[in-house]
């Protein structure tokens, strides 16, 4: 019953989508002939969301009921699986994750329909039509190549269980957030296509697009950060970013998305960089689709890849070609009709943001080449190779740090044309504090090792203090803290988070210590002033695994500060062995213990790690995400369009981006 209901809901959603597109085309051609268009389109979008939601709920219920006649349930669940993981197992495999993807797309589309009353009817129709087209692509993909409601007979008695690696709270929310980001860029894409079709690339268009893009970016930030958090805790060996192809696949849209939100600010405020911004919007969504393709096609192999199938890969590739190719062709046609832009002064906020864009896009290209080059070599038959993490690190340091330097100047540079003097004067104090505090931190705590570490710390502090200065200056010139618009709060928080992130990454990658040791019961190993005493192991039993749990007492100067319980688990159904690490943390350092293997008698091998400032990596990304959400809430974006044309000229009145 439920599987049939799910199938019907998906088929129904496809039909609604077709209607939505047809109607959108009509409404966009002659908006005056269809006065009821907005209401009708909204009704279609709502019913589309409802149908997808029904399908999604049906799948969730099937998981809760252990309905193993459904192939997808049998492959990803098990009677013993805890309820929370049964619900999250819906997106633990390829087919179900598509359901989640479509649910989010329907949700975003609904929001666009609901909150875009200020848009002209024709623009709105085109945006909803494009989103409907994207939805149709994924619906037919699901129904043809990967229907999650497929049945099997006879019904197996039990399922294959969810991959133990995915049984972790971080992994439960990582994919939804990541998809929210990917799918959110579809909205920016739809706005870009609408602008191209209508030939209306202007600051009004940029202002409509900004909140959607910024929130999509914030979701993507959170998704990537959580994925990294998951890898850190669940893979068990303390790594948190591997430059793995699938990680890169989500990082590329993030980099281009970051460029896009900055470039949109310029187009919004000054009406320049129009064709560049629209191109970024197309590329950001194209890279999101590419990410989907890479994960599901089997072209690149990694820890994260879903069971792959060439037919699925082919479909996504074709879809990518049609959607992005179509948009780029439209771009090539329309961009040639754009008037040349007003010139941009070298010392101005526009040019700083353009430089920021250049760096971000170059970084995205670096990731792109590093990820796809092995594929080129392989398909040319030149042997198999891989590009190691040092490649990315060697490039991200020299290309990323100038970006951080630039960040600190963001708010004091004026639009249009800025004088050098005031900018430098405003920079003096935060720069001085950053240098002094940076040297103190570097020499005081980390014994003045590594010149690059000093550069990273100082630049990170510079970004933080510059962001604080911006808030302070604004509060002083306006009417106190309450007068700071949320866009400035968002920007400052984001830059503050970036500064914190840069410091943390610098410190953790320069000063972390890792020791593999063999310890018998009662023996002690010393790492960076912490003594780890191994107290032996005992067997424990979890809901769906058995484990050997070690007790490790951590002492500092002879006094115990905490006890850690790393485990070696064996999951009963899939018989996988997993290393469950144990972490003790405070803002200054993580102590990370993972249990290796039994070494005879009562000794085990253990990996002990000291990771300074690890928490600030997550805190920094959390602040960036928060900054994105706060910026998206700025009232300016949600004001009715009536004043839209007026603000375009008076944009400089408000000196905030």
């Amino acid at each position: 019953m439920l599987p049939a209901l799910g199938d019907m809901a998906l088929a129904g959603a496809t039909c609604v989508c077709v209607l939505q597109i047809l109607f959108a085309v009509q409404a966009a051609r002659a908006p005056e002939r269809y006065p009821a268009a907005p209401a009708l389109l909204n009704a279609m979008v709502s019913s589309h969301l409802l149908l997808i939601f029904v399908a999604y709920c049906a799948m969730s219920i099937l998981f809760v009921q252990d309905a193993f006649e459904v192939v997808f349930v049998a492959q990803n669940s098990h009677v013993e699986l805890p309820l929370a993981y049964k619900l999250s197992a819906v997106w633990g495999g390829h087919e179900g994750s598509l359901l989640l993807w479509m649910l989010m797309l329907a949700g975003w589309t609904w929001c666009v329909g609901r909150f875009s009353n200020n848009l002209p009817t024709s623009t709105r129709a085109i945006v909803l039509g494009v989103l409907g087209f994207v939805a149709i692509g994924f619906l037919t993909f699901t129904l043809w190549t990967s229907n999650p409601f497929d049945l099997q007979f006879p019904v197996p008695e039990s399922g294959r269980d969810l991959n133990p690696l995915l049984q972790d709270p971080g992994m439960v929310i990582h994919p939804p957030l990541l998809y929210m980001g990917y799918v959110g860029f579809a909205v920016a894409f739809a706005f870009a296509v609408a602008a191209l079709i209508e030939g209306r690339l202007d600051s009004t268009w940029a202002r409509w697009t900004r909140p959607w893009t910024t929130s999509a970016w914030a979701f993507l930030t959170a998704g990537i950060a959580l994925g990294s958090w998951w890898a850190y805790h669940e893979l068990g060996w303390g790594g948190w970013w591997f430059w793995d192809p699938v990680e890169n696949a989500s990082f590329m849209p993030w980099l281009v998305g970051t460029a896009l939100i900055h470039s949109l600010a310029v187009t919004d405020k000054r009406g320049v960089f129009k064709s560049w911004t629209v191109l970024l919007a197309i590329v950001a969504f194209g890279l999101s689709l590419l990410g989907t393709f890479l994960v599901r096609s089997g072209v690149l192999v990694s820890v994260h890849a879903f069971a792959s199938d060439p037919e699925r890969g082919l479909y996504i590739l074709a879809f990518l070609t049609v959607v992005v190719g179509g948009a780029l062709a439209l771009y090539a046609w329309r961009a040639s009709q754009l008037k040349p832009e007003t010139r941009v002064a070298i010392i101005s906020r526009e040019s700083a943001l353009l430089l920021n864009n250049v760096f971000l896009v170059v970084l995205a290209a670096v990731v792109f080449i590093g990820t796809l080059y092995p594929l080129v070599v392989d398909s040319l038959g030149l042997g198999s190779m891989s590009v190691g993490p040092p490649y990315f690190e060697a490039l991200f340091i020299p290309l990323g740090l100038p970006l951080v330097l630039l960040v600190g100047f963001s708010a004091t540079l004026a639009w249009k044309r800025s004088k050098t003097g005031p900018v430098l004067r405003a920079a003096a104090l935060p720069a001085a504090i950053a240098v002094v505090a940076g040297i103190a931190l570097w020499a005081g705590i980390y014994a003045a090792r590594g010149a690059m570490a000093l550069v990273g710390i100082v630049l990170g502090l510079w970004a933080i203090f510059a962001a604080l200065r911006d808030l302070w200056l604004r509060a002083r010139s306006g009417r106190g803290v309450g007068s700071i618009p949320s866009s400035l709060w968002g920007m400052s928080l984001g830059h503050l988070g970036l500064g914190m992130f840069v410091i943390a990454v610098t410190v953790v990658s320069s000063f972390d210590v890792e020791r593999d040791v063999r310890l018998a019961t009662g023996e002690v190993a010393d790492v960076e002033g912490y003594q780890f005493r191994f107290e032996g192991t005992r067997p424990v039993e979890g809901p769906n695994y058995i484990a050997e749990r070690a007790t490790v007492t951590v002492l500092e100067d002879g006094a115990p500060i905490t006890t850690l319980y790393p485990e070696k688990r064996r999951y009963r159904v899939q018989q996988d062995i997993m290393t469950q690490s144990a972490v003790s943390y405070n803002p200054m350092r993580d102590l990370y213990v993972s249990l290796g293997e039994p070494m005879g008698s009562d000794a085990w091998s253990l990996r002990l790690q000291y990771k300074p400032m690890m928490r600030l990596v997550w805190l920094g990304t959390a602040l960036m995400m928060l900054g994105g959400f706060i910026a998206a809430l700025d009232r300016r974006y949600w004001r009715a369009t009536r004043s839209a044309s007026a603000t375009a000229s008076g944009a400089t009145a408000q000196q905030v981006s």
Binding site: Q152, F153, P154, P156, S275, L279, I282, V283, G286, L290, F293, S297, G298, V299, A307, D309, P310, E311, G313, L314, L317, L320, T321, V324, G325, L328, A329, Y331, A332, A335, S336, L372, L375, V376, D378, S379
Partner: protein, 175 residues
């Protein structure tokens, strides 16, 4: 003059071509002279229980799978065979050039999808079947003729595109 605006589109084209090339797998289908002929004889079962299972399988559609515990691709196709067995497909396993104890341990560890396991330690029967190596899987019809042969590991695509339609076709007329 405005040629540069076509660059993104060209880049996309190049990328698509590249990705498409990356997805092309070698086609590993080998023709078999056995198709349409009567299935060659199988090794003699080791006990009466196994003989009974083998007898019962006569006149039914069934799979004959040649495998060995030392064979890496056999491990790769193993989950597919398990799934097939769970769905009620009869699979006759022929253990090829292998130690009995190693084979038993392998089945113990990974699960046993086979209705019956026959032993071919010398590979003598494999020659009659035209086995190039392991794994190989033969589909035998109810009339005891070889209907289809898969060289190399059984995978998703093979199950969906080759095996499933043939099995359904066999079941169709009977019911």
């Amino acid at each position: 003059m405005r040629a540069h605006i076509w660059i993104p589109l060209l880049a996309l084209g190049a990328l698509v071509v590249l990705l498409y090339a990356g997805m092309q797998d070698m086609d590993r289908a080998l023709p078999s002279p056995m198709i349409g002929k009567a299935a060659p004889s199988l090794p003699v079962p080791e006990n009466s229980e196994a003989a009974a299972v083998l007898n019962a399988a006569q006149g039914q559609p069934r799979l004959v799978n040649f495998w060995a515990s030392w064979c890496q691709p056999c491990l790769a196709e193993h989950p597919e065979l398990m799934a097939l067995a769970e769905r009620g497909v009869t699979i006759i396993g022929v253990n090829y050039k292998d130690e009995a104890s190693a084979a038993a341990r392998w089945l113990d560890r990974h699960g046993n999808p086979f209705a019956v396991v026959l032993r071919d330690p010398e590979g003598a029967f494999a020659i009659d079947w035209g086995v190039y190596g392991v794994p190989e899987t033969y589909l035998i019809g109810p009339d005891d003729t070889v209907l289809h042969k898969k060289v190399g590991p059984v995978d998703d695509a093979y199950l969906r595109d080759e095996l499933q339609p043939r099995l359904s076709a066999l079941k169709g007329p009977a019911s």
